[in-house]
Symmetry: C2
Subunit: 509 residues, 2 copies
């Protein structure tokens, strides 16, 4: 069996245990690991690193594609391995360590990490640790369920450790398209003019001499953590579909819309699910992560092609995908995240980007990352790559959180990931605000009337009206109470009945 | 003389007065006008519109490239012509009307306006009013000192009014390169792989039947309003040059650096001036506006080529430029602002972007536009197009304003135009903070120690330390006092000795 997975006999002597491979990683090193949205991460070696660190402490800078599965970030955090982590994570234990200042976290646009490595503004990388379905005759690496930053990590690293995962189907071979831009200033256009374009190689080309260790593993990817669509997310999807249908009727979009991107997570996945029952057809995705909704859209005959950087499915869809891999494979491609998220390609293809907001303010600024402006949830991920360069940047959110105690629409967001210049459309279960071509004062009324929960509309309107009257400006605000909603929530547990310092008792319409 | 300027005889009957041309513009119309950084704007017709509106009120939506000279925005505002204005302006009277809510202003990334017009997310445009040095035999238009959005305005508008400006040298012909991307989804790569690339035409191709009126004018562009370099701006330049020199020594940049962009204004212009005495050579610019410093760098033998969307010079440099136009012309090109600011090209070329911050916070978020978060100054302009996609995004600022009463470095900016993900380097006269690869808590210490004015460092450090201790998080903040510096300044006129609610009297180190 191994000769189908490790096809270069001269590399047989690099096969070793995860423990041995982990022992190559020394204190102070910078390590680049595969893994994007819990898919295709190296599994055995990082866990062996965590075990080693408990006996023999050491710290590293860890770069990945995006989030890891199999509790790897948790185990590495608990073992004290991480001094610095970039560019994305979703693990609760690591999150706490970051927010406590114990792990330094650099939250980056997902397209930019390898660009900075290539220009030596970050790095250098000592070891790349990359999951593979196989090593080819020439020593090149076939990735598994994600590409992420694996290719550039492997190309730039001094040494490479490969985990050949026998649980990942060999039929994944051929799914990938590895195109790596040249170093500037000798760079050509990225030759992608359609979701289907395949300018690259179906494997990661590296010199076989760089492969320092090969570990065989069998651990599966963690399944997707998305919750199934519910009434609220279905309503959000229906508002968005109705809006897109209007755009078609206005002649701005065809029945195949434009290439779609959907961020990771329950809401964006539910919105994509909603397209199954839409009138649109011959859809295409140019996205980061292909989720359950991607497979469901294929099976419904709605989706013609899907380009991403990873595949992250729930248990049921994983079975369906693996059972019909050959049939899906010809309609899919996985690319390096630098390419799936490349500003050049996103602008050229004219993508409809759908991402999730943590909160938004009445003027259309979006916070995707920081609770109360201080505590990070996950990271900006690819949302900025897409929103800034999209044909249309859509942000979706539930109108409230914590049983209604938190309004998603606030007077001023406490952290800005996507500013007013980059947000075209906001959708909640209460409706949709089309902000294109509007000045901030106009946006405020739309967002409040269409997106905010009715319980909070009067208070938001009151803020907007008083800010315009008392302070004025292009973007009226009352700085002394801009964060009063967040502060009250911290004090009392709820933003309801938020009280204004200037008009006590007069805010709860 | 006119037959060198108006080369299509069948258009002679369109020649008319500015008053007649202005009479074509009706109430409620959307008008796209030439003009970018006070260069190459239509002059006679808009002023005639303003005069007409005093007698016969009407309102329009006005789109331009960027800012206009010759007080046109002021005159149109005073005459009540503007209901809606985009995507940029710098006029004090218009600014007041915007901040008073009388004119609706849509502050856009300069690369995006025509992209939205082309996809019919904005518009349609009824009339384009475009300044030209000449109309060619086939009816095509040769722009003057700016391209801005003129080409796409003229191509998409129902009708076009051309102002042939006899004061603009005919020798400008050949300076322009008009490349217009196709409508999506049928778009190819923008074929620009170097500052010198010329994939387009040296004129704006339109059907001559669209030309509704031709007006001859003689009014010059307004001169640049930049102030000459002073001790502070020279110190900022010297910090930046020292830093770039370090980058060269580290092997990250060559002696020709990378293509340079510099925003409009005194500080960015002064920084570029500083390069005259630097060790760098064979420099190139891929920028929006070519300023006095561009000509000075050419004359000093430092600059090999300059690409921009406009030329805005002071009186002395205008004379020098016009006297040697043929010699400069072969080393320059003016492009549509969509192309000068195109994310695709900026990322591909690997630009060093230098833009001005109004204020920045201790975590590296930059406010470029809004005083106190409410009152707009000018607009984001192209700074976002460049900063997001640059090889290196640099923001320059004086460390204080208003005689030291305002600190440019604050605990939290009141408006975010460039967030922590997009800001690599901050420079003031006190030093430079290199934020690449750093977590927010690390950035805070660097920005405070290197960039803040010494009078404000203790108070900033105190805020950062207390925020980390009392609240923690990836980005520690005390929401209850995040804007206390701005609020005190509004109350007392100064941020000095800012007082914390939690530690009264303990802030002014």
């Amino acid at each position: 069996m191994h000769d189908t997975r490790l096809r270069r006999p001269s590399l047989l002597d690099r096969v070793c245990t995860a423990e041995h491979a982990a022992s190559l990683i020394k204190d102070g090193m910078t390590v680049g690991m595969s893994g994007f949205t819990r898919a295709g991460e190296a599994k055995a070696v990082p866990l062996a690193m965590a075990e080693r660190a408990i006996r023999d402490p050491f710290k590293i800078t860890l770069m990945t594609g995006a989030s890891l599965g199999n509790d790897i970030d948790r185990r590495l955090t608990e073992a004290g391995v991480l001094s610095r982590r970039l560019p994305f994570q979703v693990d609760p234990v690591l999150r706490r360590a970051i927010n406590d200042g114990e792990v330094l976290f650099i939250d980056q646009h997902l397209s930019e990490t390898v660009e900075m490595l290539r220009s030596r503004q970050l790095g250098p990388i000592d070891y790349a640790i990359v999951e593979a379905v196989a090593i080819r005759e020439d020593g090149s690496i076939v990735p598994t369920t994600s590409v992420g930053n694996s290719a550039t990590f492997a190309i730039l690293a001094e040494k490479v450790i490969v985990e050949i995962n026998l649980s990942q189907p060999l039929a994944l071979e051929g799914l990938h398209d590895i195109y790596i831009p040249n170093r500037r200033p000798h760079r050509d256009a990225v030759p992608i003019t359609a979701c289907e374009s395949r300018p690259g190689l179906p494997y990661i080309p590296i010199e076989p001499t760089k492969i320092a260790a090969i570990v065989f593993t069998e651990q599966s990817d963690s399944p997707s953590a998305n919750e199934p669509p519910d009434e609220v997310t279905e309503t959000i999807a229906s508002h968005l579909i109705e809006f897109l249908w209007q755009e078609v009727k206005l002649g701005r979009l065809g029945m195949n819309l434009a290439p779609l991107q959907a961020g990771i997570g329950t809401i964006a996945n539910a919105v994509m699910h909603g397209l199954i029952d839409s009138p649109f057809r011959d859809l295409r995705m140019y996205s980061e992560v292909l989720q359950d909704s991607t497979i469901a859209l294929f099976d419904a005959g709605k989706l013609a092609f899907a380009s991403g950087s990873s595949i992250t499915l729930g248990p049921e869809m994983t079975r369906r995908f693996n059972a019909n891999l050959e049939s899906y494979k010809h309609r899919m491609v996985l690319r390096p995240q630098e390419i799936s998220n490349h500003p050049e390609v996103i602008r050229r293809l004219g993508i409809i980007g759908i991402n999730t907001a943590l909160e938004c303010d009445i003027y259309g600024n979006v916070n995707s990352t920081h609770v109360d402006g201080t505590h990070i949830m996950n990271g900006i991920g690819g949302s900025g790559d897409f929103a800034r360069n999209a044909y249309m940047a859509i942000f979706v959110a539930r109108s409230t959180a914590k049983g209604g105690d938190i309004s998603t629409v606030v007077p001023m967001v406490t952290h800005v990931d996507h500013n007013e210049h980059d947000v075209d459309i906001i959708v909640t279960e209460h409706g949709l605000a089309d902000l294109r071509g509007l000045a901030p004062r106009e946006r405020a009324m739309l967002i409040i009337d269409h997106c905010a929960h009715p319980d909070y509309r009067d208070a938001l309107r009151d803020y907007a009206v008083r800010a315009a009257r008392e302070r004025g400006g292009q973007t009226p605000h009352l700085l002394e109470e801009a964060f009063s909603w967040h502060l009250q929530r911290r004090r009392t547990g709820s933003m309801r009945g938020v009280n204004s310092p200037s008009l006590p008792g007069d805010r709860n319409g």
